[in-house]
């Protein structure tokens, strides 16, 4: 229980510290709502496209949140006052990852509610819309865990580069060969399901991809914890 309390405190603190970017994301979703209010049913494809774009922005922001979380804390030296307390590095990292997940969940909930309000009256399946939201959350959390893993020992630029490669290469292989590669960091698969959805043919279920993404998030979290426990946090990030 003590561990969970500490993790929750770090997570809520992360959300609090990132409140402005999160607010900007939420406001961007309001843009979708405005589009829905100002458009008529003939523009429904445009509205769906905007909805999909926003979902992708959410994933990009998760990478940004995950990749900069540790770096910002180290650069500002705020990490010293936190890790100087009775908290393990694994719990600290878990808190950061949970914080990113909460931020993504807040964004996805907003997107889901707005989508329900705007898209469902135009004919998009309610249940499939929320399934797509599950895909977005899974993609956000998995991408953030990749970024968090690299940010434990690399600066944000290198972290972003390696995160892009790590997510992109299996995606490219899955696109070319399919099969096994669709199980390795299934961002491509989740993205494909999300982007291919339409009013007439909502799309396929991505249940297995969501499960694999969450399992791989746990593996990445364990790897990141192992690395983070072995690095010097009080020195500048190279």
């Amino acid at each position: 229980m003590k561990h969970l309390r500490l993790i929750a405190m770090i997570a809520l603190n992360f959300v609090r510290e990132q409140r402005w970017p999160i607010l900007v994301l939420q406001l961007s979703v309001l843009g979708l709502a405005a589009l829905g209010l100002l458009s008529d049913a003939r523009d429904r494809e445009d509205i769906l496209l905007t909805f999909k774009q926003l979902g992708m922005y959410g994933v990009a922001f998760s990478v940004f949140f995950g990749g900069s979380a540790i770096y910002n804390e180290r650069r500002s030296r705020r990490i010293l006052a936190v890790l100087g307390k009775a908290i393990t590095r694994r719990d600290y990292l878990s808190g950061l990852l949970l914080g990113v997940a909460l931020s993504s969940a807040l964004f996805t909930l907003m997107l889901g509610f707005t989508g329900t309000w705007i898209l469902c009256p135009l004919g998009f399946s309610f249940f499939y819309l929320w399934h797509l939201m599950e895909c977005v959350v899974a993609a956000c959390v998995m991408s953030a865990s990749v970024a968090l893993f690299f940010s434990t020992h690399l600066n944000p630029w290198m972290s972003a580069l390696f995160t892009g490669l790590t997510l992109g290469v299996p995606g490219a292989l899955a696109f070319r060969f399919g099969g096994f590669w669709e199980y390795i960091l299934p961002l491509y698969t989740l993205g494909r399901v999300f982007l291919n959805a339409s009013y007439e043919h909502p799309g396929m279920s991505a249940g297995w991809a969501i499960t694999v993404a969450l399992l791989e998030t746990v593996i990445l979290w364990a790897a990141a914890s192992w690395v983070f426990a072995r690095i010097d946090v009080a020195v500048a990030v190279d």
Binding site: R77, A81, V82, L83, G84, K85, A86, I87, D232, D238
Partner: protein
């Protein structure tokens, strides 16, 4: 006295990624801090003081050797519940002073009424209770240092590790912190204090260690360290000033000069043969600043006596 903090033959090298050059911050660093003492940690910039503190707090890992805190290896998270830490150039989250101290107290396992009571006490201890609702982003540097101190003491730790705790404080606040440290020692707490303020260290510390180039170059009680065994101060009456190098007349007409340990006997015999009267011969007492400059190679320093260690 059991050791609260132990550094055992630690080497710490820093090496940048993809670069071959290493910088040795600590070189076979060995030190023990005993329970109930205020231990002063001195050294010039880059001597390795902050690295040693960061090792104790497990922010960095030793290249070789290891250390113990309350008998547990550095990095044991639960042990840090007994430790309060204030970093040099403290950096804290921007929120109200009370919420900030509550946050750090909660990270150390406090909750409910205990957390509320300890938060108020900690803010009161650093004279910031009247500012408890103000955001720390609007605090001056001195106030930030005090709120940093409050977050370090909120959970009533047994060991306080303070890196330059009074560097940004005005004389009044510095005095208050000094009184607080002395009060903590009276309560049986241990304080490990790194500071550049030599007068402060001399006033409050039971033992001090001087660090230079990652090594302890002197360790002991201030009184023992400041008493020179190489030079003696001789005060005499009825002798000519010009017969004794460096002699000076005191307001009461007595002559005072320094004699090296080797020449002490000859000087005393010379005073007698010249018909003088010896008032006193006592070990020469240096200031901590003199000792610091001597050990760290500052201006006017004598050749370094390197890794000599004195035990109390």
């Amino acid at each position: 006295m059991p050791a609260v903090l132990e550094f055992q033959d630690i080497i710490k090298d820093y090496r940048a990624l993809f670069r071959r050059r290493t910088v040795r911050a600590l070189d076979h660093f060995t030190l023990q801090v005993e329970e109930g003492e205020i231990f002063g940690f001195l050294g010039p910039n880059g001597a390795g003081k902050t690295t040693a503190i960061h090792l104790a707090m497990a922010f960095v890992r030793p290249t070789r050797g290891h250390g113990l805190m309350f008998g547990k290896r550095f990095g044991h998270a639960a042990t840090r519940r007994r430790v309060g830490f204030l970093a040099e150039n403290v950096a804290l989250y921007h929120r109200s002073a009370e919420n900030l101290v509550r946050f750090y107290g909660a990270l150390n396992g406090l909750s409910g009424k205990t957390l509320s009571r300890r938060t108020i006490e900690a803010l009161d201890n650093v004279s910031l209770l009247h500012e408890s609702n103000r955001n720390v982003a609007k605090f001056s540097r001195g106030m930030l240092q005090r709120i940093g101190l409050a977050q370090a003491i909120v959970h009533d730790p047994d060991l306080l590790i303070l890196d330059e705790p009074t560097s940004a404080l005005d004389p009044l606040a510095r005095y208050a912190v000094r009184e607080m440290l002395l009060d903590w020692r009276r309560r049986g707490k241990t304080i490990f204090l790194s500071s550049h303020l030599l007068s402060e260290v001399e006033l409050v510390c039971d033992r001090i260690a001087v660090l230079n180039h990652g090594r302890v170059v002197r360790l002991g009680r201030p009184a023992d360290l400041l008493e020179s065994r190489e030079h003696f101060e001789v005060i005499a009456n009825g002798i000519p000033m010009d017969g004794f190098p460096g002699a000076e007349m005191q307001p009461d007409g007595r002559i005072r000069f320094l004699a090296s340990a080797a020449s002490q006997r000859a000087m005393i015999e010379r005073i007698w043969t010249q018909g003088g009267e010896i008032i006193s011969v006592s070990p020469h007492k240096r200031s901590l600043e003199d000792l610091f400059l001597e050990l760290t190679g500052g201006p006017g320093a004598e050749p370094r006596s390197s890794s000599k260690q004195e035990t109390p």
